[in-house]
């Protein structure tokens, strides 16, 4: 009897959750926007359906959530400002749990729901799986943050962020040109394609231009809590610069533990390091003097667009500070808007393949000014051409490094 009761209770719970799901769509986590509020007033001639894929559950959820929030913010802004060529944007998000297989499932679901433009996927590996599908459908695919080379291995796939090799080579060159360090130690995440990709090219480039790597210490996702061994080795190696091609969560731990171990070297990172100040919380002083190559900085931004985006994001999402992922995704939506405007598409019922051809045609020669910098695209490869600014953290804010 007890078990039946438990079962009934479980069912009631499930049902109440279902009921909640229907009514609480304004909770900031809602997957769909656009359709619901826009259809009644008839202000738009139709809706271009934007799909988004990324992890909102599991280990990489923070990246996916940032992208989802930023796309939603941009879509709402665009719709509120009158849309694009008389059309509005509709947006649907699907979770991929940072898993290639689930990403393809998510993609198929979105295609069933008549997606016309895909902004995604957020993480590199699932992106490679989705790109193969998207190639067959010839749907315009713009990944905000899939940085692996293969992530855009299709003529219809483009990206907003830098590619991994690009960052590794860029970082090595910058260090050499500006004489930031000569003996370099690296701590990288061997189980993360992003980190591995940057490190591989960094090392190759360092050898070419004559930078000495004195220590290269690896960690994995499973061991990303204790860095005392790696830090000790960096200390012993006598390095004068610590290169951190990793994401900000691990970097915050490294900074904290390096401080405890009295490791006193300059630190240099890539765009994944953006967000480290927020992650450190009340220990933000530890990030003082950390240098990073990033096209976007939320804290201490001087660019008008960056400030406006940061404020809008904070207002919409409970004072959360947007990170690199959010900025790239926000740009992605506006890039799609700019391309559609330039292409002069006015019919929202256009097929995804036709729309893709028009967007790519429009992207050729388009110069886009967004929160992550001014960029153009190489139509052949899908890579953006933009510059990364070297920033240094000073008094809890990013300051452009003087050359």
């Amino acid at each position: 009897m007890k078990k039946i009761l438990a079962l009934v209770l479980a069912c009631v719970l499930a049902l109440s959750m279902v009921a909640c799901a229907d009514t609480s769509n304004n909770g900031g986590n809602a997957a769909q926007t656009g359709d619901a509020q826009g259809n009644n007033d008839g202000a738009f001639t139709g809706y271009i359906k934007i799909g988004g894929i990324g992890p909102t559950t599991g280990g990489a959820a923070s990246y996916g959530t940032a992208v989802m929030n930023a796309i939603k913010l941009a879509v709402d802004e665009i719709n509120a400002a009158g849309g694009v060529n008389g059309m509005g944007f509709a947006f649907e998000w699907q979770d991929d749990e940072h898993n290639a297989e689930k990403a393809v499932n998510a993609y198929n679901t979105l295609m069933d729901n008549d997606m016309q433009v895909l902004i995604g996927t957020v993480t590199s590996a699932p992106c490679i799986a989705v790109v193969a599908e998207a190639k067959e459908d010839n749907i315009f695919m713009l990944t905000p943050s899939g940085s692996a080379v293969d992530s855009i291995a299709a003529p219809n796939a483009f990206r907003v962020c830098f590619s991994d090799p690009n960052q590794g080579v860029g970082a090595a060159n910058y260090i050499k040109e500006n004489n930031i360090g000569t003996k370099i130690a690296v701590i990288y995440n061997v189980s993360d394609p992003y980190s591995n990709g940057i490190y591989e090219k960094f090392k190759a480039q360092a050898a070419t231009i004559g930078l000495e790597i004195v220590a290269a210490e690896a960690f994995t996702n499973d061991s990303a809590t204790d860095f005392s061994v790696q830090i000790q080795k960096v200390k012993d190696s006598g390095a004068d610069l610590l290169f951190l091609p990793i994401y900000y969560e691990a970097a915050a731990l490294i900074l904290t533990q390096a401080d405890q171990a009295n490791l006193d070297v300059a630190m240099f990172g890539c765009d994944g390091l953006d967000g480290v100040i927020g992650q450190l919380g009340d220990k933000a002083a530890l990030a003082e003097g950390v240098m990073l190559l990033t096209p976007f900085a939320a804290i201490g931004a001087t660019d008008e667009k960056d400030i406006a985006f940061t404020n809008a994001y904070k207002a919409a999402y409970k004072d959360e500070i947007p990170n690199q992922f959010a900025a790239d995704a926000y740009d992605a939506v506006y890039i799609v808007k700019a391309a559609i405007e330039k292409a002069g598409v006015t019919d929202a019922s256009i097929s995804c393949s036709d729309l893709c051809d028009k967007i790519i045609e429009a992207l050729d020669g388009l110069t886009f000014e967004g929160v992550t910098g001014t960029m153009t695209w190489d139509i052949e490869t899908g890579e953006p051409n933009k510059t990364a600014d070297a920033m240094v953290i000073k008094d809890g804010a990013y300051v452009a490094m003087s050359k």
């Binding site: 009897m1 078990k3 039946i4 438990a6 079962l7 479980a10 069912c11 719970l13 499930a14 959750m17 279902v18 909640c20 799901a21 229907d22 986590n29 809602a30 997957a31 769909q32 559950t57 998000w93 699907q94 979770d95 898993n99 290639a100 297989e101 393809v104 499932n105 993609y107 198929n108 679901t109 295609m111 069933d112 729901n113 590199s124 590996a125 699932p126 490679i128 799986a129 790109v131 193969a132 599908e133 692996a148 293969d150 291995a153 061997v190 189980s191 993360d192 394609p193 591995n196 990709g197 490190y199 591989e200 090392k203 190759a204 050898a207 290269a216 690896a218 994995t220 996702n221 499973d222």
Partner: protein
Amino acid sequence: MKKFTLSKPAKDRYITYGMLAVIALVVQLYITYGDASRSFKGLLVPTCVYILAAIALNLVVGISGELSLGQAGFMCIGAYVGSTFSVMTEELIASSALRFPLALLLGGMVAAVFGFLIGIPVLRLRGDYLAIVTLAFGEIIKSVFNNIYLSTDKNGLFFSIGVESKANHEFDAATQVDYIKGAMGISGTPRDSTFLICMVVIFIAMFVMLNFIDSKQGRAVMASRDNRIAAEAMGVNVTRAKMTAFVMSAFFAGVAGVLYSHNLNTLQASTFNYNLSIQILVFVVLGGMTKMRSVMIATIILYVLPEALRGFNLSNYRMLIYAIALIAMMLINNSAAIKRVREFLRAKFARNKNVGGEV
């Protein structure tokens, strides 16, 4: 005492085969002539992969009564071996009808060899050692494959563990081809897995395993599960019996891995983590751990449910609903009241036992 009658298993087998055939036929007709949605078509191969992995695991967990937590590790081996083989021979063997079966066999066999190596020390022991060792095995395999680099250039093959030596190696850039790229895994695997091939493989696996269970060896396995001492006293070589089941399970898990890797364009070792092993174990446990057929049905329900929920306005709650479904299934499986209801229904519908074809 448990009684193993002979006529019943044979009948049971034919029901299972019939069910497989009906599913294969109905679904294939539906995707060929009906207007199946893309997500439906996309789910077919993964579902088959998990069915194969789950029924293979059932051979160890259900039939031989050992706990194995390394199914994902065997899948990982199969996936990498099969995928590497296909990528490297894509130009050499142009016909996928020839290449893919070879990849399937190769992936399965390498996984089986690893199963054999693990089985040698562990299956001689009593207790939970297999669970501990397979758990570690899965993690080791994941870490190793996460660090493998395999490339070729005009100077030949380059293989390394760890990115260090690759970054130090000088490649001939013009002819360099990267096959396995560490954490980035393998990309560009030909997508040879189709629903029909998967069903044929499942059918073969089912045929082999069900016949094994009913064979002399299979009964020896079950006897040593139920009472090891009694079985040994009767002259059953327990280690050998369990080893056969374990290696067979590893083989089919490897084959499942090959099917998995040929369904996606990309393959990373991080997919085959501990969670995947547990997920497959959940399919087996909630499938009742005895009949292959019920494990298959449980897999279909539990894999398709969270994906099917995507389509509704519930996508934010799908993982929650999935968890509740797991709990509910656990209760239903074991509650006395539900068992009574089942008995009642069984008695009532004893004559026209239906051969369900649900997907």
